[in-house]
């Protein structure tokens, strides 16, 4: 078998890259997925879409991605509902430091055209009436942030890519990338050998391993992040409520369920996607402090997924100087879903030698070697 481009991973990054490449007329694209569609981090994420970031790069990627999501159903001609709902993110500041930092963040976001604003406790109460404002100092709100169904969005990219001729191989695992004289020659899976000169690493939690197959050491690691869902109830909450200091995100999805998660401060790098009772305890306590009424709801399920963490909590998107034909879309640090339209668009432009719509030279893997000062994203749960 021969392919022009082999994409590793059929999560949202892989399907978006496949779609954008195919849309630009590229033929013979193969996507290899070791499990089923949306089996990895995309299908395990919190389904939130936000533009309230602390670094220029993340703000730009997020804003342009939201503009894509607003038209995604039409662009991708998806017959179903992608459940895109823009009712905002309310990010609460719980101490003076966050209060000051968020004021800076809002300035940056506004400068880049993101309609976020600082709100008082009273205003926060109007936006989310059941919020315990005694627990917060102030908040920021961006009305165009929101929710998007990860299963449906990935399916939309997948179907659009397939309709443009992209071939998908499910339940097939990449075992080896054959490199000779600094050139990619083959991708070997557990089922076949594919002759190719180009490989795109969109393997999420396993992108480090895929990098090593090609001899490229990517400074990322996987980290277990847990999440839970409650029974569905009538709509009481429009926006996502989020706290960095108190380690919480919680939103009511269109189906009526509440989705919530927090990170484990003691997490060690691992591929584990196991659930823990400790998460249930901590999550229950945290959400009850901020959104007391939620404590009346029953938990239905809990699960976990892998964040692919990068050193500065910003994605690694671009080519690799040491190995022409090898491209990276990894290290999203928990935010690959919401950046996916730009991941696909910008990487396809870089691959085809076109001028990227947004200059993302700062997201190239070379930033870690050149040891230049780069912004560190603090706005992460």
């Amino acid at each position: 078998m021969k392919a022009n481009y082999v994409i590793v991973g059929a999560g949202i990054s892989g399907t978006s890259i496949a779609f954008h490449l195919a849309q630009k007329g590229v033929k013979d694209i193969v996507v290899i997925e070791k499990s089923y569609l949306t089996s990895g981090a995309t299908g395990r994420c919190g389904a939130g879409i936000r533009q309230q970031w602390g670094t220029v790069m993340n703000c730009k990627l997020a804003k342009a991605s939201i503009e894509f999501f607003e038209k995604a159903k039409e662009i991708l001609k998806y017959p179903g509902d992608i459940e895109f709902k823009q009712e905002g993110y309310l990010i609460v500041a719980v101490n003076d430091e966050e209060d000051r930092q968020f004021a800076e963040n809002v300035k940056l976001q506004n400068r880049l055209g993101i309609p976020s604003r600082k709100v008082t406790r009273a205003e926060a109460k109007q936006i989310v009436p059941h919020l315990n404002t005694d627990a917060i100092k102030s908040a920021t709100f961006c009305p165009t942030d929101g929710h998007l169904n990860p299963f449906k969005m990935n399916d939309a990219f997948y179907q659009a890519a397939k309709n443009l001729g992209v071939q998908f191989l499910f339940h097939e695992e990449v075992k080896e990338i054959v490199v000779k004289d600094h050139k990619i020659e083959q991708v070997i899976t557990d089922k076949r050998t594919i002759e190719t000169k180009n490989v795109i690493n969109a393997a999420g939690g396993f992108s480090k391993e895929v990098g090593l197959m090609a001899g490229i050491d990517i400074p990322v690691y996987p980290e277990n992040h847990e999440i839970l869902v409650t029974e569905p109830v009538e709509k009481i909450q429009g926006p996502m409520v989020m706290s960095f200091a108190k380690n919480l995100y919680c939103q009511q999805v269109p189906n009526g369920n509440f989705l919530m998660g927090r990170s484990n401060p003691d997490a060690v790098p691992s591929h584990s996607i196991e659930s823990s009772w400790k998460f249930l305890d901590e999550m229950a306590k945290t959400v009850t402090e901020f959104l007391p009424v939620i404590s009346k709801l029953r938990i239905l399920r809990q699960w976990a997924g892998s964040y692919n963490m990068s050193p500065d909590r910003q994605p690694i998107i671009g080519d690799v100087k040491e190995l022409p034909g090898f491209y990276l879309a990894c290290g999203f640090s928990g935010h690959g879903f919401m950046f996916s339209p730009m991941t696909g668009l910008l990487l396809s432009e870089i691959i085809l030698g076109q001028k990227p719509t947004i200059d993302i030279a700062d997201l190239n893997i070379s930033r870690f070697k050149e040891a230049k000062t780069i912004a560190y994203e603090k706005s992460v749960v």
Binding site: T38, L280, V287, K296, I299
Partner: protein, 93 residues
């Protein structure tokens, strides 16, 4: 019987027709069907629909029932109030 009149998943109101529409498009992995249709995501945790979907997949793919994996079982076993968990954490040493 009309497939539209057969309910496969009571929690999420999914019909046999919904299931067939996706299987015919090539979604023949239980986990894929779960994510796109929400079968098994309701309060019963798939205890009702799980075997029904498994049987339909088995017929559709012409495979033995035991060769059709069901969706992964996730905790909690039954619905638990968040407040009840908070109460219990107060009694832990």
């Amino acid at each position: 019987m009309n497939k539209k009149d057969v309910i496969i998943c009571r929690c999420e109101d999914v019909t046999l027709q919904d299931l067939y529409d996706l299987m015919e498009k090539g979604y023949t992995d239980f986990e894929e069907l779960k994510r796109l249709l929400r079968v098994g995501m309701g309060p019963c945790q798939g205890n009702t629909c799980g075997q029904l979907v498994q049987r339909e997949l088995s017929k559709f793919l012409n495979k033995r029932l035991e060769d059709i994996p069901t969706a992964r079982i996730r905790p909690v076993t039954t619905g638990v109030k968040i407040g009840a968990i908070v109460e219990e954490t107060k009694h832990e040493s």
